[in-house]
Chain length 342, copies 2
Amino acid sequence: MASPRRPRDDGFFMPPAWAPHSRCWMAWPVREDLWGQMLDAACEAFAEVARTIAQFEPVTMVAAPKAVADVSLYCGSGVGCQPLAHDDSWMRDIGPTFLRDDAGRLAGVDWVFNGWGERYTPYDKDADVARAVLEQLQVPRYASDLVLEGGAIHTDGEGTLLTTEAVMLDPARNGFSDKVTAEAALKDELGVTTVIWLGEGLVDDDTGGHVDNLACFARPGVVLALSSKDKRDANYAALKDNLERLRKAHDAAGRELTVIEVMQPAARRGHQGQRLPMSYINFYLANGAVILPSFEDPMDEPAYQAVAKAFPKRSVCAVPAIDIVHGGGGIHCITQHQPATG
Amino acid sequence: MASPRRPRDDGFFMPPAWAPHSRCWMAWPVREDLWGQMLDAACEAFAEVARTIAQFEPVTMVAAPKAVADVSLYCGSGVGCQPLAHDDSWMRDIGPTFLRDDAGRLAGVDWVFNGWGERYTPYDKDADVARAVLEQLQVPRYASDLVLEGGAIHTDGEGTLLTTEAVMLDPARNGFSDKVTAEAALKDELGVTTVIWLGEGLVDDDTGGHVDNLACFARPGVVLALSSKDKRDANYAALKDNLERLRKAHDAAGRELTVIEVMQPAARRGHQGQRLPMSYINFYLANGAVILPSFEDPMDEPAYQAVAKAFPKRSVCAVPAIDIVHGGGGIHCITQHQPATG
């Protein structure tokens, strides 16, 4: 299978999450040392996310070859299961980052995956998932030298990228010493012209600071951003700093951003004492819908109001996400959209 | 948005309720002058219907744009909420009547809606719901000149339509002076060849006599029909007359109908003294299931027996419906099925 680097200026770009999808990719939860006794609950929560998204677009669930039949029966009709060896279940990070061009052609970037900076091992099967998915789809694959994950980047589809210093300058990933070099690499790979830098991620976030728990575009020029009003909260300083960065930023079109604050839910801890990465920003846009995490928290309601207002034409679907964040991520982390073409 | 009349003989027909669905549409209760102090109870009852149906097929709940977030959290996972302005909550009557053809294509009839013959105002937002739903689905829309509601018609999917004189000859709707003209219009719009006419509806039925409280097909040639044995009951004469009409009728295939009687529950009155339109016939067929109203009445048991026997392969789900009929309709009235295609 050919895997060239992407030629510069070939017209391919990363479409925004709100552009039409042809499919949503997911992967079944399997890592026993991650989930422990929560594995069954995680399976039920993943299945519920899959079934909900399947109401709006086709869902393909990656599952170990031996597990495909069981997972298929478990998820029910509307969710196809694709046999593929994998170590873990965060499709946003192990799947390809899809690009398209104005002629409607699709391509996929296959990043180097190293377990979020060697935080989880083994990861050799996960590192091969993007390649296998693109091969299955017969979509051209561009192998990148960058260590990166889909959860570390958001785009407005008009040349702007949102990412974090925490991830891009992580010595256990690319070892970039400065943002200039990192930024050049991102522009090169993704066909963007402007990078907006956030700083640190949520505490105890095992990704090392993915942007998909912090902020995302609702449309060009408008960003939803996690926020906290509690100065004693461990996330307060990072979230405040990120909000200030967003308010000072200009996008690829030279616009200032409209920043919509979304208050985080109350802190909760996992079975190993770690703070769970609970963020309303970590949602999935399906065709015509937004699939939002619910935490049975008083902050659910204002968060849902803010997101529904930001996507006024979309159906809003609530899916309980506590049993997902116990594994370290949210609804956005366990999904990867495949853009529609043509 | 183009909205041609439906060409005759284009092969589109109204599939029966028992054919597979891709979705169930509902609308959230909102009309305060209708529900009064019962509004909260109605919300809970509608949510319970939605959650029950969502066990069998996707449910999309239409809600006012400002209410989408709250309604989504209220209904929970499995029920998507679609922002759309509406006046009231009877999706059977304000939604499109879906048609399909043998090639698996979908279309929708957008009837003229005038608040059940000007009984409730305003209705301008409700009158626009069918168009908006079809546009959202990108399904071809046929604008009809007929004042009609989904609750006024039942089909066997094989060319037979069931309706009432009370509705079709209502001077506040179409002003048809005779059944021949009305019948021609129905045949034209719905691709049916035979119309079976019932007479009057239930007393105090604010729809003016919808057939969906009186009788429905269980399958071609078999009809479930509401009945009363109490000669002093205000519904007795109309129900007896309708039973006689059904027993004399022939369907599009020339068959006599097998008529299964279902005894009505004891009369109950609403907060304005009106008799509540309580009918076991007003149920919803979801994929693989029948969602039946329960009234905590001794007649629940024989009605459930009869319906379960008529649908021997379907799950039977009971949902308390008293708090729905206080608003003037039942489970069938608050739902609209979207046929599966392909």
